[in-house]
């Protein structure tokens, strides 16, 4: 019994020695999220416009129904999303939209600091998603 006590005490004492802390001082020190991290969405731009062809596959597959797409045709006769909004308050960051997209027009970034003050600020419009 006393052997186990001593063992436990020695383990905690070893942790007390410098260099055993695993804490990251978050706001000042930030860990880099992995490449596969599913953070804030981003619409991928091509030369003059977004890659998206407004095929409606992402709002269809979205389990949270957080993507709103309205398609339109530009002067060249190409389909493009007139409206592309993601409601981040509903989004569950499952990444199905990325998987479903046939032209790889949407991807997920490593941004995870998305806190905000107003509900409207969580509506990510096309302009914001293209950044």
């Amino acid at each position: 019994m006393f052997k186990e006590f001593a063992k436990g005490l020695s383990i905690t004492f070893k942790h007390l020695l410098p260099g055993h802390s695993t804490t990251v001082q978050y706001p000042t020190v930030k860990l880099k999220p992995s490449d596969r991290f599913r953070g804030l969405h981003r619409l991928v731009p091509s030369q003059d416009r977004e890659k998206c062809v407004a095929c409606y596959l992402c709002p269809t597959v979205c389990p949270a129904k957080c993507i709103t797409v309205e398609s339109a045709e530009n002067e060249k006769g190409e389909k493009y999303p007139k409206v592309y909004t993601i409601d981040l308050l509903r989004c569950i960051f499952c990444g199905y939209c990325v998987e479903a997209c046939p032209v790889e027009a949407i991807e997920m970034t490593g941004v995870y600091e998305m806190a905000n003050y107003k509900r409207e600020d969580f509506q990510f419009t096309k302009q914001r998603l293209l950044k």
């Binding site: 436990g8 005490l9 905690t12 942790h15 007390l16 802390s21 695993t22 804490t23 001082q25």
Partner: protein, 355 residues
């Protein structure tokens, strides 16, 4: 003219002045240690659990105790409408006062000469010093029971009942473990006990002091364990077991009244460390009878011993889980009490044989 002990009869003005000074210093130092013990505990336990502890308030969180104090000070003071008001208000004071008052008999240095008077570095040298400590340790339980009962809450009451059962069981073993010390020292005055511990070890080894921990290692271990149980520290913190009783007897308390319980917990820790240091580790005397070490003032040694014991208590808290209630009772009555009794018997036999 030979110097005489400063007392109320030979120099009332000086006596009162010196007494007030001693009271202020001892109280101030104790409260300072209480404040920074909370910081130390959070740091030590944090690092032992591979965390950092407080880091944001000041350098490495050094201002955390002040921030905590201010926060508690500005919290709403809630008195439950179904509680019994007067005991509810009285209970926090009844816990803190016995905890602090015990420091009065702890000697923290050799006598000082001031003009024609001898001033002891101790608030008061009671010839029944240890009895006084035990009596106030016993009074401490009233505060907890009163807090538990006056809150009129199931958890608080259970915490209070547990506390009383635990403290009564462990006080016996604690008292018995100290009795072995009296049999060796033949005095109850802490001043005398410290003086005896400054002599040579067993009268033979001239540079090692005659600390009672060398003669009474079992009593020392028993006193540390029962002391932990008496001040309700982990692994014996049954009265405030969060996982079972929310927060035990202080569930219904908020604001400064909660802060008083918090302070009492740490003040108790200081008191138990100080008593253990005084009774077993030679009080303010140096660990070796060498001129360089004995030059260092007594209060430094006493504080070092107190801090070492407090660090040990924090270390235990970071390491061991809480014991179950039946385990606690079984250990108190079936292990610690017989051990303490046997220790008294063996010590008595040895004392008689050596005479």
């Amino acid at each position: 003219m030979t110097p005489e002990m400063l007392s109320l009869s030979n120099s009332p003005g000086l006596f009162v002045g010196i007494m007030l000074l001693k009271l202020l210093v001892v109280f101030g130092v104790t409260m300072l240690i209480v404040a920074y013990a909370t910081w130390c505990e959070r740091k030590v336990i944090g690092h032992m659990q591979t965390r950092l502890g407080p880091m944001r308030t000041g350098w490495h969180g050094l201002l955390q105790p002040i921030a905590d104090g201010l926060k508690l000070f500005f919290k709403e003071d809630i008195i439950p409408s179904e509680s019994t008001k007067v005991p509810f208000l009285l209970a926090p004071m009844m816990i803190l006062v016995p905890a602090l008052i015990t420091v009065a008999v702890i000697p923290f240095g050799p006598d000082l000469k001031f003009g024609n008077f001898i001033i002891p570095q101790q608030i008061t040298d009671l010839n029944i010093g240890v009895l006084y400590i035990l009596a106030f340790a016993g009074l401490g339980v009233y505060g907890i029971v009163l807090a538990g009962w006056a809150s009129n809450s199931k958890y608080a009451l259970l915490g209070g009942v547990r506390a009383s059962a635990q403290m009564i069981s462990y006080e016996l073993a604690a008292g018995l473990s100290i009795i072995a010390i009296f049999m060796l020292s033949e005095t109850l005055s802490l001043r005398e006990i410290v003086a005896q511990q400054q002599l040579d070890l067993w009268g033979v080894c001239s540079f090692v002091p005659n600390w009672f921990v060398f003669t009474q290692p079992l009593a020392f271990c028993l006193f540390i364990v029962t002391g932990l149980a008496e001040i309700n520290r982990t692994p014996f913190d049954m009265p405030e077991a969060e996982s079972e009783l929310v927060s035990g007897f202080c569930t219904e308390y908020s604001s400064m009244k909660y802060a008083l319980f918090f302070m009492a917990e740490y003040a108790n820790m200081i008191v138990i460390s100080a008593i253990a240091a005084t009774l077993f580790l030679g009080g303010w005397s140096a660990p070796l009878n060498i001129a360089i070490l004995t030059m260092i003032p007594g209060f430094v040694w006493l504080l070092m011993k107190i801090f070492a014991l407090m660090f040990f208590f924090m270390w235990l808290r970071a390491t061991f889980p809480r014991v179950r209630y039946d385990q606690l009772m079984r250990m108190g009555w079936k292990v610690l009490l017989p051990l303490a009794l046997a220790n008294v018997v063996v010590t008595g036999l040895v004392v008689v044989v050596l005479q």
